[in-house]
Amino acid sequence: MLQGTLDLLILRTLVRGPVHGHAIAKAIEFNSDDVLQVEQGSLYPALHRLIKRKWISVEEGISENNRRAKFYKLTAEGRRQLAAETSKWDKMAGAIARILRPAEQEGE
């Protein structure tokens, strides 16, 4: 997986509100149609990296099956970062797409 991609996916997952670790893993798996296979464990160093950068925060909460769990939440700075990273990502993805498929575009 590309360096930073996981960070971006996590931020994206947290847009809808605070989520706990296992749910983030599930969401990434689900939303990416199981294309992005990662060991679930590698989520945690990434989460802590984001906490350290103050892009997300962590709070106590109760999970759906009524257990105490850590909930991760996007900060204001994280939201700004997500916007910036997303547009950067889009630009790059567009650029890569143009490089990979110029012939088809000409054909159309």
């Binding site: 706990h20 670790g21 060991e39 464990g41 945690y44 160093p45 769990a69 850590k70």
Partner: protein, 878 residues
């Protein structure tokens, strides 16, 4: 740090929660609970690595891990103290020796001279017909100065010993005669008083002198009022005009500087009396200066009326630093190379130790790896340990170098220039640090590559017997030992060649006796007036008569140049008879063109006692005696080699020669005797043809008296000093034993032999230890196998042969490589050898035998131990 603790605790909970949730999901999907749990863990990955990675997020990873590594490395080194001690001491020895030698190389060769922009200061030489360089004659210097465009300033100088009085006590001091601009070339200004001005150098000017800081402190009481002090130098009265800065002593050992040519220049273009230094103009390169000087020199050669072998053929410009250190360079670089070899041998030993250590630790590594330690981390661990070893060794080595350097400097030959600037200074310490780091990096890379290659988990699989990689590391160990033997062989061959050279030199019969001779250097002022000269002859004659009265002194002689003590002037003499003498010196020119008339010899002033004291044998005729008074016909005694070369198949006795160009006395010399040859310029230099003249007929100002004495030097010296004081209180003397002078002449050879011998022996010991270590280790690792062989009926002799055979193969490969390398390398030191060729079979054979013998012994002990293996014990082993 607290925050991190909290975050890590949270993380543990989080992970537990995560896996629990995943397990529940799996159960919900219909898995049995146990399987559901394992599936969750598999999906999660390595919990410990996740925790470690997360911890890294919260820490200064690099620093913290480094701390851990160091901590761990210390623990490992403490745990195996024997290994640590041997490795650290080996490295300390090698790094210390290399640092000490480097400090000499740095101080002598690399450190810039202590003058402003010292790389712009050049030496200028004449190149004579034989291609060798010589000093510069006065008119040639004037042409260089006036016609060259390459130098800001250029000056000539000449240093000599003089008797100086007028200060707190009379001294024999080295005095330099320098032309104006000398200080400007070197970029030095007086700290007190003034530099020489144009007026000081004019012919007939009032004599002035500059003094060194040391002389000013010691003999002039640091007096700031220079006008009060005058110095009597060689009889002339000089007013002190300035004091030069502390530490400035150029040329070497000079304490007083006077203007040159106060009595006018020597008009001859073939009297090479002055050294020349110049400071390059900004933007001028050494090459440009060379072209410039060379063109002037060749013009002089083409146009001068003084044609002949002594006239310059060309000129050359070299940086002053190279001119000063040129002779020492090859010898010092040789030593640096030798100590570098020693360093390699030592590193090889440590590498082998590390290798053995690593295979012992294979299990530990396998466990750490299985527990999730990344390979990079293990590699870093090895590097940390190597660095710790090298830095410990390096620090200890530098301490040793401080101590060793004192010995090194004491041992160094007297003719090694700039010895006073040798010390353990910042650049040397930086060198030691860089060297230690390089050693650490090398060892670390080697051991990390060896130890972490291959499948680490094998260490666990093979029942923890630690057999994994055994074959491989044994092979590498043997390669290292072979390399060690090869390098050691080169070193010991080098030591052997130098040692045999020294022995051959000592076998040379010097042609004179050395022991029981006290020498006394006395110089009187240089004078030209024949009457004053005659007075000096009488003075020395009186001195000799009185010295003979000293109790214990049996015979006394005198000479203008003691063998092995700086050499004699040489020149061309003419064979002629009384009625052929030309009226003026110009008339000698055409005679010098007649090859059959000229000869070349050293010119030595001596007394009859000189031959007796030094026991230089009379071959034929007679030496000087009572017949040879100041006014009787002047006589000469010649050396055997001169008789052989100049008068082959003839009897030179009775021939007359003109050699007045040496001392200004044109009276002919009649050859009355032939004496044995002496090795004036060292035992390793061929004897020079020499003409001896009688001190009483041809007075000379600077004389060395030789006293054959049964009494010890100190009592003779104090008695002689008293006698001299009585005769002339303004003259100082320097005393030595002739053995000291003689032994000094062997200094550089002895220096090389002692150092390279020391390196060679140390390398030999290290290599032997290396062979022993690898063999003993191999035997101990193979105890089980040997036990099985014995159990199956192998005879002890067979086991011995097997182990020895294995060792021998390694040894012979090493020796073969070593001999090849030696043959290639020793050729480069041929010029430093004497009496042996660079491929001396005796040395090569002897060294090979010695090395093979030592290595075999080192193999034999472990091999013997292998034959003693008890199969029962061996099979229960481990």
């Amino acid at each position: 740090m607290k925050k991190r603790e909290r975050m890590m605790k949270d993380l543990e909970e989080d992970i537990r929660e995560h896996i629990e949730t995943e397990t529940q999901d799996n159960i919900a999907r219909g898995m049995p609970p146990e399987e559901a749990h394992y599936a969750a863990i598999r999906k999660f990955g390595n919990v410990m690595r996740v925790e470690e990675d997360t911890r890294d997020v919260w820490s200064f990873v690099w620093l913290e891990q480094f701390g851990q590594d160091i901590h761990y490395a210390f623990r490992m080194l403490r745990k195996s103290r024997g290994f640590t001690a041997v490795a650290v001491l080996t490295l300390a020895l090698a790094i210390g020796a290399t640092t000490a030698i480097f400090s000499v190389v740095y101080g002598v060769l690399l450190q810039p001279l202590p003058y402003t922009d010292s790389n712009r200061i050049m030496s200028v030489f004449e190149v004579n017909s034989g291609g060798t360089w010589s000093r510069v004659a006065d008119p040639n210097f004037d042409d260089f100065r006036d016609q060259s465009r390459s130098f800001q300033s250029i000056a000539k100088y000449h240093a000599d010993i003089a008797s100086v009085s007028g200060a707190s006590e009379p001294t024999r001091t080295t005095v330099a005669a320098v032309s104006p601009g000398f200080l400007k070339v070197l970029g030095v200004q007086p700290i007190l008083g003034r530099d020489f001005g144009a007026g000081d150098a004019k012919k007939g000017a009032g004599p002035t002198v500059l003094v060194s800081y040391g002389y000013w402190r010691q003999y002039l009481g640091s007096s700031r009022d220079l006008a009060q002090s005058h110095l009597k130098i060689d009889g002339g009265l000089f007013s002190i005009v300035g004091v030069l800065p502390s530490g400035f002593r150029f040329p070497a050992d000079v304490d007083l500087w006077l203007p040159a040519d106060l009595d006018g220049e020597n008009p001859s273009r073939t009297s090479h009396n002055y050294s020349v230094v110049g400071r390059l103009r900004d933007g001028t390169t050494v090459q440009q200066a060379n072209l410039d000087i060379s063109a002037i020199a060749r013009r002089i050669h083409d146009t001068s009326s003084e044609q002949g072998d002594y006239l310059l053929k060309d000129g050359i410009v070299v940086p002053l630093q190279d001119a000063i250190t040129g002779k020492a360079r090859s010898s010092l670089l040789l030593l640096l190379g030798a100590v570098g070899f020693l360093l390699l041998v030592a590193c090889a030993n440590v590498a082998n130790l590390l290798l053995a250590q690593a295979s012992v630790r294979e299990r530990e590594l396998a466990i750490r790896s299985a527990l999730g330690a990344a390979r990079g981390r293990l590699v870093r661990q090895y590097f940390t340990e190597a660095f710790l070893l090298a830095l410990l060794g390096g620090s200890l080595g530098v301490l040793g170098a401080f101590w060793g350097l004192a010995g090194l400097v004491a041992l160094a030959p007297e003719n090694l220039p700039r010895l006073e600037s040798v010390s353990i200074n910042i650049p040397v310490l930086v060198f030691a640090l860089v060297l230690s780091t390089a050693v650490a990096a090398g060892l670390g890379a080697f051991i990390a590559a060896r130890a972490t290659s291959g499948e680490l988990r094998k260490g666990l699989v093979e029942g923890g017997r630690g057999q994994a990689g055994l074959q491989g590391s044994q092979r590498v160990g043997r390669v290292i030992v072979a390399a060690q033997i090869a390098i050691t062989l080169v070193l010991v061959v080098g030591a052997g060649l130098f040692g045999r050279s020294l022995m051959k030199v000592l076998e040379v019969n010097p042609g004179f006796r050395v022991d029981k001779i006290v020498t006394m250097d006395v110089s009187l002022p240089w004078v030209d007036d024949p009457k004053a000269k005659a007075g000096q002859a009488i003075f020395f004659s009186n001195l000799i008569d009185r010295l003979k009265q000293i109790p214990g002194v049996r015979k006394v002689g005198a000479t203008s140049g003691l063998p092995m003590d700086g050499g004699l002037p040489d020149g061309m003499f003419l064979l002629m008879t009384q009625n052929e003498i030309p009226k003026t010196t110009d008339g000698f020119g055409p005679l010098l063109q007649q090859k059959e008339r000229i000869g070349n010899a050293d010119f030595c002033v001596a007394t009859d006692g000189y031959f007796q004291v030094l026991e230089i044998p009379l071959i034929r005729g007679r030496i000087f005696d009572g017949r040879d008074g100041a006014n009787s016909p002047h006589v000469a005694v010649i050396s055997e080699s001169l008789a052989r070369e100049r008068w082959p198949n003839q009897d030179p006795i009775g021939h007359t020669i003109e050699f007045g160009n040496m001392d200004g006395d044109l009276r002919l010399l009649t050859i009355v005797g032939i004496v044995g040859d002496t090795h004036e310029y060292g035992l390793d230099a061929p004897p020079r043809p020499t003409v001896y003249v009688d001190l009483l007929q041809r007075p000379h100002a600077a004389i060395t008296l030789t006293m054959l004495s049964d009494a010890d030097m100190r009592s003779v010296a104090s008695a002689a000093r008293g006698i001299l004081q009585n005769l002339n209180p303004e003259v100082a003397a320097k005393f030595q034993t002739f053995s000291q002078v003689y032994s000094t002449s062997l200094g550089s050879r002895r220096f090389n032999v002692i150092l390279i011998g020391f390196f060679g022996i140390t390398a030999l010991l290290l290599a032997t230890a290396g062979v022993f270590g690898v063999m003993a280790y191999s035997v101990s690792r193979r105890t089980r196998e040997i036990g099985v062989r014995v159990a199956l009926g192998a005879a002890p002799a067979g086991i011995l042969r097997m182990i020895l055979g294995q060792g021998l193969r390694t040894i012979f490969i090493g020796v073969a490589i070593g001999i090849t390398a030696s043959l290639a390398l020793t050729r480069t030191v041929q010029s430093l050898l004497f009496g042996v060729t660079a491929t001396d079979p005796v040395t090569f054979g002897g060294v090979t035998l010695l090395l093979v013998g030592a290595a075999l012994l080192a193999c034999y002990i472990p091999a013997r131990r292998a034959t003693k293996v008890d199969p029962m014990v061996a099979l229960r082993h481990e």
